[in-house]
Amino acid sequence: MLNWIEGPIWVALGVVISLLSYRTGTGSLSEPGPGFVALASGIFMIVIGSIRSIAGRGASRQKAEDPGESPLRKTAVRPSYRLVYTLVLLVLYALLLNSIGYVITTFLVMFGLFFDPEKRRFVVPFFASLVSVAVTYTLFEIWLKTQLPRGFFPWW
């Protein structure tokens, strides 16, 4: 079922790209505009997506009988708790980095990543995060002279 959707998704994407390219201006063959190549890539995706849809239709009928084999079926399975938790931490890092600063944000996020909810130990993640921050701060800020965000602690 999901395998069959793959083709139409690409066709839809191709249509959107083609429309965007048309709006940008495709120009002519003697004077191609900024949307010329994008239009070609959009049309290309429509064509390939259509072939995929036709080819996938037969295959999906067979795979419906054996749903365990569909590669996209794996994506339909609910993502693990650890995966969602890691993604949330990454997004939080991006959101807080400029306001809180590199040192505190990195420490908190690394603590969250090192922390194992099953073992519930705090000492190892604490020191591992501390060492990670110290090493990367020394490497990037002090040696490579990269300007890392200081947040509301200007002395860091």
Binding site: P34, A38, G58, Y93, A94, S132, F140
Partner: protein, 496 residues
């Protein structure tokens, strides 16, 4: 004589302290990456790409190249001792290498892998020296039509040789080209496809894209597959292969070196395919094919030589034509462009220090790798035991810092997370990233040459057919795509 003179100058560049350090750091990281399953050379190179911004272009290329061929060496260690390939090119080494280790011959297996790689790497470099300049001289005559068609051929070859579905590869290539067009148009200066986001005005960055697709998504997928690695508890002794081992392995090393080098030149060829072809070839040539799979030393020597020689071959189209043969070379191309250099036929004459410095550094790097891989094998084995729950936060941290330090912009972190998530879903749906990244890197050049060719010919598309090199490239591309797509569809139909 000129080649020898250039090579001596190259050694002058490679042996400068900063470049020597870059080479050492590159091969060390490469070996480490090769040893550790879960992060490949592409992921490592993309993570370390921002670190190269602060150093000279030649040191940057030396370091990144070191990571690439270093990972080929390191990959064999995990294949032999753990039966887990550190990276794709070492998959074949698992078959006989692990069996040798189980029979108590881990030492000779690791030894022949290291020596075979060294010999093949050196043979590959000799080929790179002579063929690089030769091809560059020929490519000077290329115009926009030839370049456009050559890039199409490169993409088609990559798609043809891709392991997964060719249709999926084609769609990824289309998406890669579109992503590369986001931002300012090179001809009119008009901003396109940015959806009003200021961060996209300079286009989608190569580093957030590759870090997301290769680094973040790999971590996300691995998070769902917990499992402890078991390291073979055999004592590693007698790393030097016996005279009998050398007698058996000599020809496979020679064949693997030549085969790997020529397959490496082909766009899409590279280390992975050459190692598989070498294994098949050795099995065919062998008087005792039944030994393969049961610890045949030639099953380790041939593929290991082939994958190392292929890394040298892959540099030829990059340096002489400016066209990357595989995704690793696409990253190197991106790195060169970030440093303001445009690889192509004129690069070897205009920036000889880059080409010859890199070639010479690879000789130095091969010797460093031999030193790193044989006496320090115990350290690499111990590193294998680091649990993934310690490794993955560190990989993520380097991705986060690396992507932020490019522009000091949080937007790049969001882009990386977005591509990481996209990469996670694409991996699950069995899409390969190589066509997307190669198309993304080639996209702007492809667009520029296509538009230039059309403007120069006053809108006549016949320009691509009337120029012989261009016509030949397009015909081969078409043949490859048709012969790749149609059997795949017929097979699906038959199956259903």
């Amino acid at each position: 004589m000129s080649v020898l003179h250039d090579l001596i100058n190259g050694f002058g560049v490679a042996l400068q302290l900063s470049n020597l350090f870059a080479c050492f750091f590159g091969v060390l990281i490469g070996t480490l990456i090769g040893v550790l399953p879960g992060i490949g050379p592409v992921g490592a190179m993309s993570i370390l790409l921002p670190v190269t911004f602060g150093i000279s272009p030649v040191a940057a290329i030396i370091m990144l190249a070191g990571i690439y061929y270093g990972s080929m060496y390191g990959g064999s260690t995990t294949s032999i001792l753990v039966n887990i390939p550190g990276e794709a090119a070492s998959v074949v080494t698992c078959i006989d290498g692990y069996q040798m280790a189980r029979q108590g011959r881990a030492g000779p297996a690791l030894g022949i892998a290291a020596f075979g790689s060294f010999i093949a790497g050196t043979i590959g470099l000799v080929g790179l020296m002579f063929m690089g300049s030769l091809l560059a001289g020929f490519a000077v005559k290329f115009g926009p039509a030839e370049y456009f068609s050559l890039m199409c051929l490169g993409l088609s070859l990559l798609l043809y040789l891709t392991r997964g579905s060719i249709l999926k590869g084609l769609m990824m290539a289309g998406a890669g080209i579109f992503l590369s067009l986001i931002g300012q148009d090179i001809v009119t200066g008009k901003v396109r496809f940015t959806f009003g986001l200021f961060g996209l005005q300079d286009g989608v960055g190569l580093v957030p894209l590759v870090m997301g697709l290769f680094g973040i998504s790999e971590v996300l997928v691995n998070l769902e597959e917990p499992g402890e690695r078991m390291v073979l508890s055999t004592k590693i002794k007698h790393l030097l292969p016996t005279r009998e081992d050398w007698r058996i392995a000599a020809m496979p090393i020679a064949r693997g070196s030549l085969l790997g080098f020529f397959l490496g030149i082909l766009p899409g060829g590279g280390a992975v395919i050459s190692s598989f072809v070498s294994y098949a070839l050795e099995k065919r040539f062998s008087r005792h094919p039944e030994r393969f799979g049961n610890g045949a030393i030639e099953g380790v020597a041939g593929p290991e030589a082939a994958n190392n020689s292929a890394t040298s071959g892959a540099f030829i189209p990059l340096f002489s034509l400016g066209i990357p043969a595989n995704v690793v070379m696409a990253l190197l191309l991106g790195a060169l462009m970030i440093h303001g250099l445009q690889p192509g036929p004129l690069m070897i004459t205009e920036h000889p220090e880059i080409f010859w410095g890199t070639v010479a550094s690879m000789y130095v790097g091969n010797i460093l790798l031999l030193i790193l891989n044989l006496p320090l094998i115990g350290i690499w084995v111990r590193i294998l035991k680091i649990p993934y729950k310690i490794l993955f936060p560190l990989i993520l941290l380097f991705c986060l810092i690396g992507v932020y330090t490019i522009n000091g912009n949080v937007f790049d972190i969001f882009m990386m997370i977005l591509f990481g998530l996209l990469g996670y879903w694409l991996r699950k749906a069995q899409y390969e990233f190589a066509p997307l990244v190669l198309a993304f890197v080639l996209g702007p050049m492809l667009e520029q040459n296509l538009r230039q060719a059309l403007i120069l010919s006053d809108g006549s598309a016949r320009v691509f057919a009337t120029h012989p090199i261009s016509a030949a490239c397009l015909l081969i591309s078409l043949f490859l795509l048709i012969s790749g797509v149609f059997p795949a569809i017929q097979k699906r139909r038959k199956r259903s």
